[in-house]
């Protein structure tokens, strides 16, 4: 079962779709999310968020702070700005 990922900033929805793997850096360290992950809410630090799509391609986004929430294979990444 794939992950439903949404990467949103205050002004727009940057990316949304299905993915097989998401990695991001929280205040505690790097974090990877695979399908079936336990519900989690984390504070992100500045750094890269990478989303591995179902076709195997990986997309990288540079975020400046934000939050990551995981529940029922639904991943939302909230950030103030994306480069």
């Amino acid at each position: 079962m794939p992950l439903n990922v949404a990467l949103v900033s205050p002004t727009q929805q940057v990316w949304s779709g299905q993915a097989s793997f998401v990695s991001a850096r929280t205040t505690e360290g790097d974090l990877g999310v695979l399908p079936g992950h336990t519900p989690l809410f984390g504070v992100l630090v500045d750094g890269a968020v990478s989303i591995k799509g179902l076709d195997g391609t990986t997309q990288e986004f540079n975020v400046s702070g934000g939050f990551l929430s995981v529940s029922n294979d639904r991943v939302s990444i909230l950030t103030e700005s994306v480069n």
Partner: protein
């Protein structure tokens, strides 16, 4: 050309010039509403996700965060009024300011002091003219606010909130926001809402069980709330600003449309008056000529 006719023509020219301006403003506003609406809807996913997150954290952690708990004896409340920078938008700014006055009166009744934070030149001028104290003012972006603007305002409000209200005259215990809700192209409504302490449950529909799971927090619930709540306030202020901007354009479009219509009516009635004046002039000239010819004819008849 007679004097009367000349005056009518002059007035018609001036009304026509005014009509051109109001028509142009109407068209500009009409095109900007669409853009403003798109910005409102582009900002909704973020606001929704954030609201979801805040509700989840607030309902599943037992931490008492200052932003979510109501103080026992509030002494001072802040109101943030979002108005426009420019006029020509009918009663748009007036409605927001009046809503603010109502809320301030209500708060004073509860025994609270009110400090005002103002966005938009119209509200600032209203307060300045009445020599009222202003806790903070921001101008220059009412028709096209950016997230940075919202952050500035939110930071000032949060700073005031975190200051101790019992010691200084700057600290506040409650924050209310007054903005103009964009309901549709035709309806916009000035609304007052309490922002802090948070009324976290905002959705009208009941939250289905199992929608909000037991979260693990990283690093911990309190840190997460600390980081989350300022963002939540910023997002809400940003959303309020965007809605107000859309409402401002809609109000201006409507005001300019009726101004254009009025100018058209005025031109029509002035044209009628000018035509009547011209006709009267012609009639008078004819009767003068006929009278003159008559007088000549009767004078020459008498001399024979």
């Amino acid at each position: 050309m007679g004097a009367q006719l000349r005056i009518y023509r002059r007035r018609m020219r001036s009304v026509k010039a005014t009509k051109k301006i109001t028509k142009a403003m109407e068209l500009i506003s009409a095109s900007r509403i669409v853009k403003a609406q798109q910005r409102v809807s582009a900002s909704t996913p973020y606001a929704n996700e954030l609201t979801r997150a805040v509700s989840a954290v607030a309902s599943f952690s037992s931490t008492d965060h200052p932003l979510t708990t109501t103080k026992e004896n509030p002494r001072r409340a802040a109101i943030l009024i979002i108005s426009s920078d420019r006029g020509m938008a009918g009663a748009y700014s007036t409605n927001a300011i009046k809503e603010g006055e109502k809320l301030a009166a209500l708060l004073r009744e509860r025994g609270l002091q009110v400090s005002s934070f103002l966005v938009g030149r119209k509200a600032v001028n209203y307060y300045k003219f009445r020599n009222r104290e202003m806790a903070g003012t921001w101008t220059g972006f009412s028709d096209n606010p950016s997230y940075e603007n919202a952050r500035e305002v939110a930071d000032a409000l949060l700073e005031a909130f975190l200051a101790d209200s019992t010691e200084t005259n700057l600290g506040v215990d409650e924050i209310h926001i007054i903005f103009t809700q964009f309901k549709s192209m035709l309806t916009q409504e000035a609304t007052a809402k309490r922002m802090i302490p948070l009324e976290v449950v905002e959705t009208s529909e009941p939250v289905p069980a199992g929608l909000l799971p037991m979260y693990e927090f990283e690093p911990n619930a309190e840190e997460v709330l600390n980081a989350l709540l300022p963002r939540y306030i910023q997002a809400r202020i940003f959303n309020a600003m965007l809605q107000s901007a859309a409402s401002e354009h809609a109000a201006r479009r409507r005001a300019m449309k009726s101004a254009t219509d009025n100018a058209e009516d005025l031109i029509k009635s002035l044209t009628r008056l000018a035509n009547a004046a011209r006709q009267a002039e012609i009639t008078q000239e004819i009767s003068e000529i006929v009278g003159g010819a008559d007088a000549l004819a009767s004078a020459s008849a008498g001399s024979e």
